[in-house]
């Protein structure tokens, strides 16, 4: 990669200054202040709310403060949910079905699940707790019917919960005992009824990304250049670009996914439109997934970003 390539920013806190403020508070001894900021964003679009909670949950070095806060405020639902979220994340790497520390992972997930059972019992409209229970249901192997039951409970509160839809998409894939037919069926159903510009409208793109990685490991673009696949990616691209994104932070993910897949498939102009919308921001997962194509993708980025500076 040459020195002139445009910088890549996969840390959303570097992209959105208010997220940096929240993280700084969480890590700088003002956890209650960070929680207040999270709470202020909790009623917006689910994908933004989850982006913010994930940012705090993934912040390093907050465990002691969180434990102290919970001792003083045992009834703080957000802090309890955050604690469960961190427990899931620390069990997370081992939640892979092939992981050797499966028993430890299951114990961690079960601890988190028990906190979440109570949170959902106390308040069945809690989107954040139900969302995390989709993660635990899959990690604990509770079966597809239980994942679906939980998703329906959540969808009754928020039928457009894009992060939950991504979890369901995963649960439906062959790796977790489902099928690509079922996964795409769900993704197309969600995308078809989604608003233009929305994250959920791009769920079918996530399905293609997952299938490409699962079947090919991201090595070749044969899968992506199939006419049917390309047509679906382009349709999703049209819909995502049709209006300004309704989400504050979460749009980075679908734009990165489409930019990467269309770029790898050789649709350079289309990919460029999404790279242009992204600026320096990129979602880490899909960007890293296309490692073999990064030089080419960077070329597309540098051309559209240079053009942007010219204007």
């Amino acid at each position: 990669m040459s020195a002139s390539m445009p910088p890549v920013q996969t840390d959303l806190a570097e992209v959105f200054p208010d997220l940096m403020t929240i993280r700084a508070r969480a890590q700088g001894g003002d956890l209650p202040g960070a929680l207040a900021e999270v709470r202020a964003r909790a009623t917006g679009l689910a994908e933004d709310a989850i982006t913010v909670t994930e940012l705090v949950a993934e912040s390093e070095g907050i465990d002691d403060d969180l434990a102290a806060h919970l001792r003083a405020h045992a009834d703080d639902r957000l802090a309890r949910t955050l604690d469960a979220h961190r427990t899931i994340l620390s069990a997370g790497s081992a939640a892979d079905p092939a992981a050797s520390t499966r028993a430890d992972s299951a114990a961690g997930l079960a601890r988190a699940e028990q906190t979440l059972i109570r949170l959902c019992a106390e308040d069945p409209t809690d989107r954040y707790a139900w969302y995390l229970r989709l993660v635990t249901a899959r990690g604990l192997g509770l079966g597809w019917s239980e994942s679906r039951r939980r998703y329906r409970r959540l969808a009754a509160v928020d039928p457009h919960h894009a992060p939950a839809q991504r979890q369901i998409l995963r649960s439906l894939q062959p790796r977790w005992g489902g099928s690509w037919e079922a996964a795409f069926g769900f993704a197309r159903e969600v995308s078809a009824t989604a608003a233009e510009g929305s994250v959920e409208g791009a769920l079918v793109v996530t399905a293609h990304l997952d299938r490409w990685l699962a079947e090919d490991g991201g090595a070749q673009n044969d899968y992506l250049v199939q006419p049917g696949v390309l047509a679906e990616l382009e349709e999703a691209s049209d819909r995502l670009l049709a209006v300004p994104p309704p989400s504050t932070y979460a749009w980075v993910q679908p734009h990165t996914e489409i930019a990467v897949l269309l770029g790898v498939a050789g649709r350079r102009v289309r990919a460029g439109q999404h790279f242009s919308a992204l600026g320096p921001a990129l979602a880490e997962g899909p960007w890293a997934a296309a490692a073999r194509y990064q030089e080419d993708l960077q070329t597309m980025r540098s051309s559209v970003l240079a053009e942007g500076r010219r204007r």
């Binding site: 079960a110 699940e113 109570r118 069945p124 509770l142 239980e146």
Partner: protein, 507 residues
């Protein structure tokens, strides 16, 4: 309703006057299958059939043996018919027709359907092979029951002091001759301390059912909790989530200290995970969620109205008589209705906690470790010292016959029965020996599975109390167990669960 307490031939009786021309009456004895031990399991039922034999032509006669009482009664008929039935029954009890013993056993074997499947696992895990745990077992004791034992049982339990009569009609029947042996009221069998570390779970493969029982102190709040739970399960699992066709809860007062609340939720095989999750969430909702004032008022009012309507119902004479027999207080309907109306959401929540602490669940897959419940185990996991017998045809389970007991070890569990702790030893003339410990653990010595020699059989036979032995003739060779076919790696887990089910149930 006018209720009169009288006495007939020394037996306490309740009489409720009614003027609709209907006559009924019955006799209750404070003895049931929970009073038996496993080696005589079926004895009370056998006595019931034996003494009713001469009354089979009586179309109005009904009878039942429950865990704690035996009830023979008439519905409809005339005062003369009521008297004839009770007189005939007492005559048979004074001199049981033991000549009919073997024929009656045959009839019982033909009738046997086995205990209720849903409650079996919970009964075994909670109590082992004792008292209420005997619900998990068929009537294995029948073959060894002789005339002497029948006389002893009748003499102890079917006595003046251990009986209770009831009658309804415009007058008491005349010419009653109900003399029975003298005897005293038998205490209700005390349920042994739960063996499982509760809340506990056990996976029962292929059952497509979630079944949870708990034992709580009886109270109006506990009865209302069960009603709330029943409605909540129906609403959550059937109406809202559509994962179960039939989901609900029941409440039964068993003795002065215990009421049993039982949850049942069925499902299709593809909904197993959802039905398990749904039951966990509904139970959690009653522990931690808000039961709305409207929801609670609706339930307490319905319960109060139902009991209010009973205040003039002469048929409540039967539960009144049962309560008196078992030492329970039969709550006066108007007072109970007021107590139901006074139950608060906080009361319901307290019972929900008590339910959780005592719960034992049977689930079709996965278990409930993820929800913080404990895996239920029978037995101590100890293996006795002794001679390991060689398995036939690659049979992998390790069988040890020792001086203190026998053990079978599989990849995932140890089953040990100590000779001093045998509830029953079923001894087959073909060499098979089935041992059940009082803790409910079962070990089957099968000559078709291991090279069981005469020395091993002699060691077992010589060590077990003869009073615990039930002998059977040789079984049909086609019915004997065979070493399992080698299983594929992929099927290993379900084969393990199946053998676990066999160990739990003995089948």
């Amino acid at each position: 309703m006018t209720l009169t307490r009288v006495e007939v031939d020394g037996i306490p009786a309740l009489f409720a006057e009614r003027t609709d021309g209907v006559y009924s009456g019955g006799i209750l004895f404070r003895v049931g299958w929970a009073d038996e031990n496993l080696a005589v399991r079926g004895l009370t039922h056998l006595v019931q059939h034996l003494v009713l034999h001469d009354l089979v032509g009586d179309v109005h006669r009904h009878s039942e043996v429950t865990a704690t009482y035996t009830h023979v009664h008439t519905r409809g008929g005339s005062p003369e018919q009521v008297a004839r039935m009770l007189n005939g029954l007492c005559e048979a009890l004074r001199d049981p027709p033991v000549g009919r013993l073997e024929v009656t056993k045959e009839a019982l074997r033909a009738e046997e359907r086995g205990p209720d499947g849903a409650g079996r696992v919970a009964a075994l895990l909670r109590y082992g092979a004792h008292d209420h745990g005997l619900a998990a077992f068929p009537e294995v004791g029948l073959p060894e029951i002789g005339p002497g034992l029948v006389q002893v049982w009748v003499g102890e339990a079917f006595t003046t002091g251990n009986a209770m009569l009831w009658f309804t009609g415009d007058r008491m029947p005349e010419n009653l001759q109900l003399t029975l042996p003298e005897g005293s009221r038998q205490p209700v069998p005390a349920a042994s301390k739960p063996r499982a570390n509760t809340p506990a779970w056990s996976v029962v493969d292929g059952s497509d059912l979630v079944h949870v029982t708990a034992v709580v102190p009886p109270s109006p709040a506990a009865a209302i909790f069960a009603d709330v739970l029943n409605g909540a399960l129906h609403h959550d699992l059937r109406e809202r989530d559509a994962v179960s066709y039939s989901a609900g809860a029941t409440y039964t007062v068993r003795d002065p200290a215990s009421a049993v609340i039982a949850v049942t939720a069925d499902c299709l095989p593809e909904q197993r995970g959802a039905v398990i999750g749904g039951v966990v969430d509904t139970l959690a909702r009653l522990r931690w969620g808000a039961v709305s004032a409207d929801e609670l008022t609706e339930i307490t009012s319905a319960a109060a109205t139902a009991v209010d309507e009973q205040s003039e119902d002469v048929d409540t004479i039967v539960p009144r008589a049962v309560s008196s027999l078992l030492g329970l207080t039969f709550p006066e309907p108007h007072r109970l209705a007021a107590e139901y109306r006074a139950v608060t959401a906080a009361d319901v929540q307290r019972v929900a906690e008590a339910f959780h602490r005592s719960a034992i669940a049977q689930v079709p897959e996965v278990g409930l470790g993820w929800a913080g419940w404990h895996a239920a185990h029978l037995g101590s996991g100890e293996v006795v010292d002794g001679v390991a017998l060689t398995g036939r045809d690659g049979h992998h389970e390790r069988l040890v016959v020792g001086d203190r007991g026998v053990s079978v070890t599989t990849a995932d569990a140890v089953s040990t029965v100590l000779y001093d702790d045998v509830a029953v030893l079923e001894s087959f003339a073909d060499g098979g020996r089935h041992l059940v410990g009082t803790d409910g653990v079962q070990v089957h010595l099968e000559p078709t599975l291991w090279e069981v020699d005469d020395a091993a059989l002699a060691r077992v036979d010589g060590a077990v109390d003869l009073a615990r032995v039930v002998r059977h003739p040789a079984r049909n060779p086609d019915d004997l167990p065979l070493p399992p076919e080698p299983v594929d790696e992929e099927d290993g887990e379900s084969a393990g669960s199946r053998s676990r089910w066999r160990r739990l149930t003995g089948r």
